[in-house]
Amino acid sequence: MKKGRSEKLFDGVMTGVPTAFFVLLYLLPCVAGLFFSMTDFGGYSLNLEFVGLRNYKRLLQDPVFFKSILNYFKLYLGVALICFPLSYIAALALTKNNRIKERNFYRILFFFPNTVPTLILAIMWMTMYNPSFGVLNQVLGWFGIEPVQWLGSTKVVMISVIILVVWRMFGFYLVYFMAGVSNIPPDIYDSAKIDGASEFMQTIKITIPLTWDIIKTCLLFFVMTCMNVGFGTVYVLTQGGPDNASQIISSYLYLNITKYLEYGLSSAIGVVMMVITLTMSLLILKVMKRETYEM
């Protein structure tokens, strides 16, 4: 079907206006970050000096920067390895078992923390983590375990951040996985049952391959959310401390702007951040690539 002039105008306006807005205010600044990472912009004077790769060299000599990258991966892997399997198992348990009639209640309740601002979650968990009267140490006390310095110890603080993020994201991925699992037509299982496949084998051979795309989407999605959620959590809960032990890339970037007024350096961090997220997305797409099964 050939499009007439008014049709073309329609398409042009419908795509042009939003895209111009989006490109000008979002993508262009992101690309411009590349340029500013090579300047010494300090926040006030626009008399920029081009400093080449100096900011990147400074980053290479900055131990906190490496720590913040490491912490980003810790957070990503912590959530991918703890939260994803837990959510997946819970999703299987809730959709496969017909006796649990209140499954929707759990789904709605577990998702709730995702609607609450990270700012509030972090303030709530500050009391949970309090070493002398926090709930966590009280519970540990019942089992005779010594109180833990959740936010005060450089060794434990990243674990505390990961616990909070897992606690929050569990319900989010549960919703996705439940939708995926319940979308598989039941007759596929029926024939497997006739062939004598166990529940476990059915999960391995049917459920996981058929929900592969959703697992992939969730992993991809978390590449992006990890930066934002990590920032929100760290900024309020620990402010990167103690001794920068919980600094992650996004919070370190923001710290360089707001505290040290190092706009150039923070742009360089931003560029590294962009490289990391894009590489990880491509890597996930590549590793997770599989024949998709049509249902």
């Binding site: 992101c30 006796r99 998702f111 009267f133 709930v135 795309d213 934002n228 742009s267 931003g270 997220t277």
Partner: protein, 280 residues
Amino acid sequence: MKKISFGTMVIRFFMVLWSLIIIVPFAQLFLTSIKNNEEFYAGLWTLPTRPIQNAIENFSSAWRDANMGVGIFNAVIICGLSLILTLTLSSMVSYAIARRHLRHENKLSNLYLIGLLVPAMVGLTPMFIMARFIGLFNTRTILVLLYTATQIPFSVFLMTAFFRSIPHELEEASYIDGASPWRTFTSIILPLARPAIVTAGIFAFLDFWSEYMYGLMFLTDKNKVTVAMSILQFKTGNGVRMNWGVTSAACVIFIAPILLLYCLFQKKIVGGLTVGSVKG
């Protein structure tokens, strides 16, 4: 049969356990908001002796100290305008990508996908310079523009999937009746897409309402700050010697609209998230 019901019990046990783990921090927040500071330090689960009086004191001083009236007013204006702009622009481009058989359909949808993957923080410095250059620094307008721009990718992601699921026959019938594409879009497509627009709108609202990163950078005027920034001041301003009762009260005021929204629209929020991502 006995084996299965044992399994059910195990599942129930863990589900109830996790429910408790989810509820406890929230319960504690609400409880703290009706305690005074001594009662708070006496132990988390000690019940307040005069809850109503404490509540009145905490909530009124939270409202006063954080200047929450101004904060909420600003947040409502900024969220409202950003919401209108986000939903208008996103629904336009999502419809075009999903339904108009564009020549560059794939390139265009990849462009928005890039937006979903590149963290907005990368562009923070250029955004800052741009804001000063066009004279929008320290205005609420720049926040509206930036909130919209950063929210568009996710809204497009949610809406495109939904537009694809609308049956083609409805559009065809509309064209046969001689309606222009504009008319088809506004009077056939948009009303049908209401569930997707509501879901995208709720997610956008949740993001806008709690946003403070841009706010702290772009606003210096105390009368323009949003409520999220006012809450943050409790945390950083008072340091270790926080008044937990007042802080918790402020948090409760802050999340009250979210709680209300979630109670009203839980099905739309939870269900709308997965509309397009699950093939079926």
